[in-house]
């Protein structure tokens, strides 16, 4: 049986920009009525360029920012943080991994404490068990127990992203929002982190919302794809449908702009250059 973990109905988010002495107050429509749903163990990729509202959407899904209107359902329960306080259960269920692994870890906090913190805040698990769980999680994401007492600056970008993923998984979330998790990483490290994400998804039946602007990564990892453009979802469908038959002109522009690294395209380019 398939179970819908995340459902969004007509989500809208407006930001009111206050006017100053000489400027009028205005409203920025960051997200304009977006609907989608993600089933358990699946990956929805949200694609778009800077300013298209994909990170605003991530903030709404992660329950950091309330939506101006529309419904957000997590595991079938309606969540509205604008009107009622969030339950600890909900806080546990949704976690996020940010783009920049250099900015998202506290430089003065040891890795063990980074991983223990979510448990310390959200549960009453004793210190010894917190430590055991952090150790186990370190191994799970491909690090070693001796990393427990080290500081973030002692790790490479890829290792830090593993730590950020480990921290997000400490509370056994059902939904993980990944905001450009591999954009800052080198190609080979990117491959390792994508493999890790795929393994973890299989093991814990995790649901991913994967935000990216890299279409080749999206094609590799996503089950469903949503393309956003100026706050609207201009294209939404299964990966194969979107990639084989893009409907919206913006999606086609996006595909056309993505550099191709196959031999045929190179031959075509060189032939064109010779002719010119």
């Amino acid at each position: 049986m398939t179970q819908t973990v995340l459902q969004a109905k007509n989500l809208v988010r407006d930001y009111h920009v206050g006017g100053g002495l000489l400027t009028k107050a205005r409203t920025v429509h960051a997200v304009k009525g977006v609907s989608f749903s993600v089933e358990k163990g699946k990956t929805l990729a949200i694609v778009g360029e800077s300013g298209c509202g994909k990170s605003t959407l991530a903030r709404i899904i992660t329950l950091i920012d309330p939506a101006t209107s529309g419904d957000l359902l997590i595991d079938g329960n309606k969540v509205d943080i604008a009107h009622s306080a969030l339950t600890p259960e909900m806080r546990r269920k949704v976690q996020i991994v940010f783009q920049n692994p250099y900015g998202s870890l506290n430089p003065r906090q040891k890795i063990g404490d980074v991983l223990g913190e979510p448990l310390k805040i959200n549960t009453d698990i004793p210190a010894a068990e917190r430590r055991d769980r952090a150790m186990a999680m370190l191994k799970k994401v491909g690090l070693a127990p001796e990393h427990y007492n080290r500081y973030p600056h002692m790790f490479s970008g890829g290792q830090r992203q593993r730590i950020a993923i480990a921290r997000a998984l400490m509370l056994n979330p059902s939904l993980l929002v990944l905001d450009e998790p591999v954009s800052a990483l080198d190609l080979s490290v990117q491959a390792q982190v994508l493999n890790l994400l795929a393994d973890l998804q299989d093991e814990f039946q995790l649901t991913y919302v994967f935000i990216s602007h890299d279409l080749s990564v999206v094609r590799y990892i996503a089950d469903d794809v949503m393309v956003m453009y100026f706050g609207e979802a201009v294209e939404y469908g299964s990966r194969d449908a979107v990639f084989s038959d893009p409907k919206h002109s913006y999606t086609r522009t996006l595909f056309a702009a993505t550099p191709r690294a196959d031999v045929e395209s190179i031959k075509a380019r060189l032939a064109k250059k010779k002719a010119a």
């Binding site: 360029e49 800077s50 970008g157 080198d186 190609l187 080979s188 490290v189 990117q190 491959a191 390792q192 994508l194 493999n195 795929a198 602007h213 890299d214 279409l215 080749s216 990564v217 094609r219 590799y220 990892i221 522009t253 996006l254 056309a256 702009a257 993505t258 550099p259 191709r260 690294a261 196959d262 031999v263 395209s265 190179i266 031959k267 380019r269 060189l270 010119a276």
Partner: protein, 281 residues
């Protein structure tokens, strides 16, 4: 005669734990009108070797080379003053972060005109006319008005266009682009790459493209150098590199592209027998 010829370039940095070799004996040369891509991951020394050519490395760096000649002139033997006459005029460089490489305190017009004043000795009216022409060439709408804009009033793509305008202001013979599109969206990346390729063809410049993106390499380069941990792994023309890569490292890089994924897992560097020291395996 090659435009730029480098033989056995080594760069080491003094650190608290001794010297760190960032570039370990790189040879390369680029002909006029050629597009050369240097590919590698962070720490491969691709930026450092080009910064050494530009003379932009900090004092802690030691640069040695058997030969480093631009247009037949030995760069290492020049005094600072002589070298500054070449750098910025005959060799120009653009950087990864367009927002960070422009000075936030001055208008873009001032920054474009500064190059013209220093290197070309133009008067005020000539500088302004040339600046407008450059802004047009790099595709900025309403160039005369935009000269009065500050960097923060422009988008990332526009800032990169301004950087390119500054770089090509003195019609350089060689343009070094260090990850020029990494901070930009794909659609903007396409525009900037098209612009660079058009300018390269129009001006007949040599172009060195430093990147870690194999897609960018495939779309721009004539010839490719692959670097890993300060050493050159492979050098080939672009088609043979993608068709039949010789070194294990290049094979690893190409197969780590999600485009080339076969099956469930992406191959990673560790799946290939690579000498961690970076010697050709």
């Amino acid at each position: 005669m090659p435009l730029l010829q480098i033989k056995n370039l080594c760069v080491s940095f003094d650190t608290s734990v001794g010297a760190f070799m960032a570039v370990k004996g790189i040879d390369m040369s680029i002909e006029p009108r050629e597009v050369l891509a240097i590919v590698g991951e962070s720490g491969s020394g691709k930026s450092v070797s080009m910064l050494a050519v530009m003379g932009l490395l900090p004092k802690t760096a030691t640069v040695t080379a058997d030969r480093m000649a631009f247009n037949g002139v030995d760069l290492l033997g020049l005094t600072g003053e002589q070298r500054r006459k070449i750098i910025g005029r005959d060799i120009a460089m653009i950087f990864q972060e367009p927002m960070a490489s422009l000075n936030p305190c001055f208008t873009v017009g001032f920054q474009i005109e500064e190059v013209l004043r220093v290197h070309m000795g133009m008067d005020r009216a000539q500088r302004r006319a040339r600046a407008i022409e450059l802004m047009q060439q790099v595709g900025i709408a309403e160039p005369a008005e935009r000269l009065g804009s500050y960097p923060h009033q422009m988008s990332g793509g526009q800032c990169q266009r301004v950087m390119i305008a500054i770089a090509i202001a003195c019609n350089p013979k060689l343009l070094i682009a260090d990850e020029p599109t990494t901070a930009l969206d794909v659609t903007i990346q396409k525009q900037i790459l098209d612009l660079l390729m058009r300018l390269q063809a129009e001006h007949g410049m040599g172009l060195i493209m430093i990147t870690h993106n194999m897609g960018v390499v495939a779309e721009t380069a004539d010839r490719v150098i692959v670097q890993y941990k300060g050493r050159k792994m492979e050098e080939a023309d672009v088609l043979s590199l993608f068709e039949s890569p010789k070194s294990n490292y290049t094979k690893a890089l190409l197969s780590a592209l999600p485009d080339n994924a076969t099956g469930d897992r992406l191959p990673t560097i560790s799946d290939f027998a690579l000498d961690p020291e970076g010697a050709t395996a």
